[in-house]
């Protein structure tokens, strides 16, 4: 009996610097090392029947990525998780796995929302003056960040330059932004939470949003890290 398994995994570190196509190959080889009986497509170039959720841009880590694997015969999901975790390269780890109906819609079809954690660092010059002029100034800076964030969300249009195959294109990214909020601002580190619409209509790179946000705030921050921390189907976690 064929079995369709949906897997949630984690991606971090050096492995975030590979393309989505390479990631497919990394998983294919790991599945073969683990000797998992994956269904193989027929044709000139037989491939494993696995399919992924929306691709993650280069250099962005994630605590919730998803992958569907179609198996030739039944395997306990705990066993599959354990065997695969033994042979994945550094930076990839299966968090959980669940058997889903064989006819289930694909991940890219159902996932409609992604959340990101954007970690920014205040530029040195700003920090120097803030710490020198005591707590008050830092508080003021916090208020300013909040205010700026509101202002950013109230914009009707946020156009950014996007590098495409045919050169640079101007794109309005506002329609993709659902929420952006200040999560934490401690010492020189600012954490923003960002929710984007995602799915068949598009998959906006959160880096564009982060850059636009920073440029709206006099370019006083550097991007330290971006992490995808959730993918959702109609407000619910995928599995």
């Amino acid at each position: 009996m064929e079995q369709l398994v949906r897997i949630k995994y984690f991606k971090d570190g050096p492995i975030t610097y590979i393309s989505h196509l390479n990631l497919v190959q990394v998983f294919t080889r790991a599945l073969r090392r683990a000797d998992i009986p994956v269904v193989i497509s027929s044709g000139f170039n037989p491939r494993f029947r696995i399919s992924f959720g929306p691709p993650l841009p280069l250099g962005i880590s994630s605590t919730s990525e998803y992958l569907d694997i179609r198996l030739k015969e039944e395997v306990k999901v705990e066993e599959l998780t354990e065997r695969l975790n033994l042979v994945l390269p550094q930076g990839l780890k299966i968090l959980r796995a669940k058997t889903i109906p064989s006819s289930a819609d694909s991940l890219v079809k159902v996932i409609d929302r992604a959340s990101y954690l954007i970690i920014l660092k205040i530029k040195e010059k700003l920090l120097d003056s803030a710490t020198k002029n005591q707590e008050n100034e830092l508080k003021e800076l916090k208020q300013e960040v909040e205010k700026n964030n509101k202002r950013f969300l109230n914009l009707d249009e946020i156009t950014v330059e996007k590098q495409t195959k045919n050169g640079i294109k101007m794109v309005d990214i506002r329609p993709s932004i659902l929420i952006i909020s200040v999560k934490k601002f401690k010492k020189q580190i600012l954490e923003l939470g960002l929710d984007l619409k995602i799915g068949q209509q598009g998959n906006l790179n959160p880096r564009y949003v982060a850059r636009a946000w920073i440029s709206n705030f006099a370019n006083n921050f550097d991007i330290i890290q971006i992490c995808r921390d959730g993918l959702y189907v109609k407000g619910e976690e995928v599995i």
């Binding site: 570190g13 050096p14 492995i15 610097y17 590979i18 393309s19 390479n22 990394v26 294919t28 080889r29 790991a30 599945l31 073969r32 090392r33 683990a34 000797d35 193989i40 000139f44 170039n45 037989p46 491939r47 494993f48 280069l58 250099g59 042979v87 994945l88 390269p89 550094q90 930076g91 330290i224």
Partner: protein, 607 residues
Amino acid sequence: MDIKKILFEELLDKVKKPGRYTGKEFNEIVKEENASTVKVAFAFPDLYEIGMSYLGFKILYEIINKRDDALAERVFSPAVDMEKLLRERQIPVFSLETYRPLNSFDIVGFTIQHELCYSNILNLLELGHIPLRSDERKEDDPLIIAGGPGAFNPEPLSRFIDLFVIGEGEEIVGEIIEVYKRCKEKKQGRAKLLEELARIEGIYVPSFYKISYFKDGRVKSVAPKKETYYSVIKKQIISDFDKAAYPLFPIVPNIDVVHDRITLEIFRGCTRGCRFCQAGMIYRPVREKSVDTLIGLADEILAHTGYEEISLSSLSSSDYSEIESLITKLVDRFEEKGVGVSLPSLRIDSFSVALAQQVQRVRKAGLTLAPEVGTPRLRDVINKNVQEEDLYSSISAAFEKGWRKIKLYFMVGLPTETEEDVEGIVRLVSKVDRMGREITGRKISINISVSAFVPKPHTPFQWEAQEERESLFKKIRYLKNRLNWRNISFSYPDINRIYLEAVFARGDRRLGEVLEKAHSLGCKFDAWREQFNFEAWEQAFKDCGLNMEFYANRVREEDEILSWDHISCGVKKEYLLEEKEKALRGETTPDCRFEDCTGCGVCQLTN
């Protein structure tokens, strides 16, 4: 300096293909170490995706990392975008395993795969903050060693390399580490270390030899500076090829590399005796691994890597004595897992086409054949030993078995070549095209790759001149025009690069100065079309008062001392000379596996 932190926080977002610089692939080895661990860097003078395709380093990486007293890590040439960032911030080039700077290794080992990577060796030393010249290095600089096919004429690089390893590295690498350790324990310096290492057979320390020249530039003598040094350095071969260490845990790259598959070396060496082919001379004698050994290796490596393809590697795969049995067993065993077998370097005969057909059961692949030249006469001169009938019958077999695409390799500029031979290539391709249409009932696609002959050391053609560039260019242009059909794709090399390759292939020690000059003019990645700067090379030669024609286009006299005469690959010079004369007479020499001994002399290495 925390290289890892800078790399991940600042550099990776600014370069193309950042996966080249991160390491941490499956099967990468990061070893525990202590103060006495001998730290070896394998420096590959080209990009990650080229270096990671190379079997030799995988073999040595595993051999060294298995030892308790040593570790091996990888360093590749950074691409130009990364090089710029490293130079701007004065960050030394580093290993992928521990992000350790190149200059903090004990030993740096280069592999020299071809002549067009020489400038990259200098560049990598500089990027590693290591003095370029051997005689400028201090006690705490790494020992710089080099091996691979390029070591068979070591002279052009002798100014920069402390010692060369001639021949197979599997066993000698352990001896080098032992001596290094002993010298380090006894706190003996660099000079003493080199003295000790020079006693090992197969090791050439160029600074221990004095080369003198005639006024016209020819080599007058090569003399060891002490009587105790070997006057001829003999290639080392491993004692038992079947049982020799083989990488069971090759690193599985996370990004695309050129050869991204399991490589099974089925045999080493080739005695077909093509007279232009250096590999066919320097890797002799022929030694095979048994079918059982190979099946065992395939099982293990597949379990450790999860690759989807196993490539059988050798200089001529269909010559493996039990090739049919091997292929049947491999295909049967791995078909169900979706793992294919591929067979590069096929000979031209119907038997080989049948083999190619068999491996297609899992994955379809193209068919590549190398007729090399256009006429039977010239094919005899180069000792290709392929009959015209075999060529056509194997191609028609291929079309009958369903191939619609074929790749053909040719070479121009070979000794004795005439216009008729060049015209022969056109005739041959036309006939293949016609056969394809007749058999398949439609147009087939033909991929033609034309290269130009480069005379290489240790071959019967080592005395020959490379044809003048102008004339090579004319021949290639002629072929390109004549074969300018829709169903043909035609590729050919940059003649200036082929020329530079010929200059360095038979270069002498004086070219060290030219290399330094060219490096200072920014020459690097000469094998890459977009980086190659021939004008800079011309300038470098001019500045050094040396002449490229002298090296590339000059016929060597039979009694001339060749700048690689003190390096022996086991094949005798008399044999090469005899082969050259037979070539000019159009006589062929059979393969000693099927007929009598040809007297090349290599078997003395095994006795």
